[in-house]
Amino acid sequence: MSAVPAVQVRDLHVRAGGLTAVRGVSFTIPAGGRMGLVGESGSGKTLTALSLMGLLPVGLRAQGEILHDGVDVTKLSDAQLSRRRGRTLSMVFQDPLSALNPVRRVGHQIASVIRRHKGVGSNEAGQQALSLVQQMRLPRPERIMHAYPHELSGGQRQRVMIAMALACYPQLIIADEPTTALDVTVQKQVLRLLNEAVSERGCGLLMITHDLPIVAAMCETVAVMYAGRIVEMGPVSEVFTAPRHPYTRGLLDSQPTMDNIAIDGSSRLPSIPGMVPPLDGLPAGCAFHPRCPRADDRCRREAPMLDGGGRRAACWHPLEGTLTGTNAA
């Protein structure tokens, strides 16, 4: 495998009319690396992912640099992008029922990705599709191949989506909340499968989610987004055990876990006060300051930038030390 990163994003902005939803996002996922992009709704995480895929909704524009497979994705034409999607770059969406074609059999849909990008005949593509379905440990693979999406369960559909995303050994897979629409008991199976499939192929993974435990389970590094910016990034094992940004800390603290229930049933769950600011009403200075217990005058005036080093945080008053709570190791 080459040492060229799976993707390198530099100063990405996504604008819609006069509003800026993504405000200068930069990160690199090395070849075969796995990064989690965490944030709440409106934080810009999904728009960042869609920019990478060249799938931004009409009216939204991505600016900046997205280097992938030797090209800047933001400069590609629709036709060029379409030749890449599914081949070097693919995506697993949150809701497979709306991402799959409802009037085509599942086998046909997987095979068409293979035919399109690998230039093989339909028999060969069908064989490869079947073997992918088998690898996804779907029961009675031949039947699944002939089924329509509505005939499958949510978990089965999501496995079909993963099979399609993996079909051409892409350099990067973007998974946007791939298990949010699934039953909790199915979630783990699907994550396990995605985990194995990505490892076997050495693909890079960008996991978009609001769910910190999923990032901890699947990723090596994490970037936490708030109001269109990355506010903290670094190795998962460090960011989640010794968060430097108060927002990251707040997210970690507000997770209900088995431990804080078992220890004291009457304790209150720590919560972050207030709410995510709307795009057209971003506060001056640090966008998190109205909700932050550490905010002072400087935070209200000046927006902090990500500092240097391996553990980066955009905060004037970063936290120090390790979490002693029950949520982290």
Partner: protein, 278 residues
């Protein structure tokens, strides 16, 4: 009613006794009989005054069917649902009215449960109007807004001007308007942002403690239910397979369905340790 007057040993305020519910499905072939799905199979479930109970299970386990029976929008094919000890299906009009105002529901997605064209103030007063409850509605609105932690400016606004967490507070406020005894919350936080979920869960717990409300919390996430309630029932295939204190269910799950739910819980700690997907 204050919480300390109430004891756990009192009579259930709302209960399902041996309820069975079946639905006839569409026939697969033309001359076949329509197959029957047993969604609930002789289920017993109750909630006492001031108690918070949870109902968990995978989709299709019967949680929603049981909920529909408990709030009275469906009648069981056998068994009874009782409110304050009385069969809901055989109530006089007066008693039925009391039942309807006393059992209120909070749904998963506040955006789709609030009318986008109705100001919040009007939406809050609507239950009182439709239930023909007399009294000072405006005063009631102010009390309830205080209980859910919203200020009065909210009354003149429309739903789209609020975030998901605020809307869920509004939906809870609306459920509280007719002074219910039981609040049934179906996945009340799963559509909300992580940083907001904790706020809403805390609010539900405070309402139980401060107003002496009974809470039935339906969710698929065991840790959410466990945080908010003191007793949890696990459902699978139309039956309640296990009931217990949340901490006990977590540490010693008895039924297979409970074990599956416990196993499904992902934590940051397991993830960092590399054992989450083992």
């Amino acid at each position: 009613m204050s919480a300390d007057v109430v004891t756990r040993s009192s009579e259930p305020v709302l209960a399902a006794c041996g309820v069975t519910q079946t639905y006839r499905l569409n026939r697969a072939r033309l001359f076949e009989k329509r197959p029957v799905l047993t969604a609930l199979d002789k289920v017993d479930f109750d909630v006492r005054p001031g108690e918070a109970v949870g109902l968990v299970g995978e989709s299709g386990s019967g949680k929603s069917t049981l909920t529909r029976l408990l709030i009275g929008i469906e009648a069981p094919v056998s068994g009874v649902v009782t409110f304050e000890g009385e069969d809901v299906g055989r109530m006089t009009a007066d008693r039925r009215h009391r039942f309807r105002r006393s059992v209120q529901m909070v749904l998963q997605d506040p955006r789709s449960s609030l009318d986008p064209r109705m100001r919040v103030g009007t939406a809050l007063m609507e239950p009182l109007r439709s239930l023909r409850i007399e009294g000072d509605h405006r005063a009631r609105v102010r009390t309830v807004l205080g209980q859910v932690g919203l200020d009065e400016q909210a009354l003149e606004k429309y739903p789209h001007q609020f975030s998901g967490g605020q809307l869920q507070r509004i939906a809870i406020a609306r459920a509280l308007m007719p002074e219910p005894r039981v609040l049934v919350a179906d996945e009340p936080v799963s559509a909300l942002d992580v940083s907001i979920q904790a706020q809403v869960l805390n609010l539900l717990r405070d309402l139980v403690d401060e107003l002496g409300l009974s809470l039935i919390l339906i969710a698929h996430d065991l840790s959410v239910v466990a945080y908010t309630t003191s007793r949890v029932s696990v459902m699978a295939s139309g039956r309640i397979v296990e009931t217990g204190r949340p901490a006990d269910l977590f540490s010693r799950p008895g039924a297979e369905a409970t074990r599956n739910l416990v196993d499904a819980v992902l934590t940051v700690r397991d993830g960092i340790a590399g054992t989450a997907l083992a």
